[in-house]
């Protein structure tokens, strides 16, 4: 079996990228893992809650502990991890343009590229949204769980998906008050067990409610809310004011597809998975066969699904480079796929499963 010696380059050392690099290295393939941050782990080290899933998905383990385990594993395997390294370019011939510590720029020739670049938080504009104290939920989570700084004493959370309610819970744990979690839709979005634990701590949850404006002189002092009609328009006369000094926006995420677009990967619009995302097949291969997409770039889901997608791509890339025979690749990916399927069921997961099936079908149709 002829083996490719140019490395597989993994961009992004979050849960998906770490797992992809681990599977490649385990198979004996040369791999380089690049991340723009000074620490690997992506968002995992901000996750102080216990994860869902089953034992084989590390359920019951807190996110940051899963991060520590993945780091230990990648160190034990001797994976070449380059931190403070931003990937700013990628062409269809797999030339990777990296900038190290904002000083040195170089290109790498890769034999495979696995893009694990994650997603970007959405914002919702309203008068006053540029006041200090208005931030995304991820920003608040970074402040409390990484830097141990309380972003406010009394916080409004906009958006009731799992991110919004988990960050509301962590703000309470950090010692803040949460004035309310608001949701424009008629039903709360997050898992009922998450909303229930925040609600029993006395946090009001308001559906059909939006933020009209934020007020304050030097920073946020108040948030003005209003009820919305069936078309999400504020209903006149329903305005009310909450005294808050911080506002966290948890209104969804959008896949970070810039590098995939530069490489020429075909994209597809999937609202359930966060918007435009690269098409991919069952092994996470994009329309450019040597470029894989894993984790939130391939549709916004969760860390547990991101890790399995990373494994799928890592195993398949190692096979395609000649480091695993077909039988072994199929055996390993079958396990991964079974675990992934288990996470995409039920009222929440089924929708994502159906959306992913649509992505696979479109990939098959557009670039078989």
């Amino acid at each position: 079996m002829e083996r490719e010696t140019r490395p597989a380059v993994v961009v992004g050392a979050g849960p998906a990228g770490l797992c992809a690099a681990i599977e490649l290295k385990r198979a004996g393939a040369p791999v380089l893992l690049l991340d723009e941050n000074s620490k690997p782990g992506g968002q995992l080290f901000k996750q102080i809650h216990k994860f869902f899933g089953s034992q084989e998905h590390r359920a019951g383990v807190r996110g940051f502990e899963i991060g520590k385990d993945l780091l230990r594993e990648s160190l034990d395997l001797g994976i070449d991890v380059r931190l403070d390294t931003e990937v700013v370019g990628l062409d269809p011939n797999l030339n990777v343009w990296a900038v190290e510590a904002r000083k040195r720029s170089y290109t790498l020739e890769a034999s495979r590229v696995i893009l694990a670049t994650g997603a970007t938080e959405n914002a919702v504009p309203f008068p006053g949204w540029t006041l200090p104290g208005v931030m995304t939920a991820g920003c608040a989570q970074t402040l409390i769980n990484v830097h141990r700084v309380l972003p406010g004493r009394r916080v409004l959370v906009v958006g009731s998906g799992n991110v919004g309610v988990i960050v509301a819970y962590q703000l309470l744990q950090a010692g803040a008050e949460v004035a309310a979690v608001i949701e424009a839709a008629p039903a709360l979005g997050g898992y009922g067990v998450h909303t229930a634990k925040v609600r029993r701590a006395g946090v009001p949850m308001l559906v059909r409610t939006t933020i009209v404006r934020a007020e304050g002189s030097e920073g946020v002092e108040r948030a003005v809310l209003a009820e919305v009609d069936g078309k999400f328009k504020p209903v006149p006369g329903t305005e009310r004011t909450l005294e808050v000094d911080a506002i966290c926006l948890a209104v969804g995420l959008t896949p970070s597809i810039e590098l995939a677009a530069l490489a020429g990967c075909r994209t597809f619009f999937v609202p359930e998975l966060g918007g435009h995302m690269p098409l991919h097949d069952e092994f996470m291969r994009s329309s450019v066969p040597a470029v894989y997409v894993v984790g939130d770039i391939a549709g916004v889901e969760e860390a547990s699904t991101a890790m399995e997608e990373g494994r799928l791509a890592g195993i398949h890339a190692a096979h395609s480079m000649g480091y695993l025979d077909r039988e072994e690749m199929e055996r390993r990916t079958a396990d991964t796929r079974r675990r992934l399927r288990a996470l995409r069921q039920g009222v929440f997961g089924e929708k994502r499963f159906v959306a992913k099936e649509r992505v696979l079908a479109e990939k098959e149709k557009e670039c078989p």
């Binding site: 809650h49 869902f52 089953s54 034992q55 067990v193």
Partner: protein, 177 residues
Amino acid sequence: MPVNPDSPDLDERTLKTLGAPSLAELKAAGVVPSREEMAARPCVCVECIEEIPCNPCETSCPQGALTVGQPITNLPVLDRDKCTACGLCIPACPGLAVVIKSLEGNLAKIRFPWEYLPGPAKGEEVEMVDRLGNPVCPGTVVSVINPARNNRTAVVTAEFPAEHVDEVISMRRKTWP
């Protein structure tokens, strides 16, 4: 989304509108023990009524009394005859959805998960709350345990007047001095 205000059925469901399930919603899901059952023995209450992919309660139970099975989005099913109320499922549930309740004369006892600081101390007088976070009645902390295997989820036991056994789910958070 049109809601018929005359439909009592919809009025009683509050999980997706207020954030916490109503008693009616929980009873319909079959997860609320009767007073007779709670007087006879401590009863595990798994307030997990939405299909999410999760089964640590099942794997935590040494008696095999909690079953999720396949797919792991199944709701947990409790076999009270096998349950010894050991309480290992309380810190195992990532959703903090498991409590154990019992009745002894005029007093109710609840064991519930707790992940806030400052934590309560044995003997402390606290305020018990319902699922919406409303104060219900005073309570007394009987014990607080947090062994390493709980992975930082403490289990608090508190006593309170028996008549509030159905509403009470936890205690009010303490504030820093």
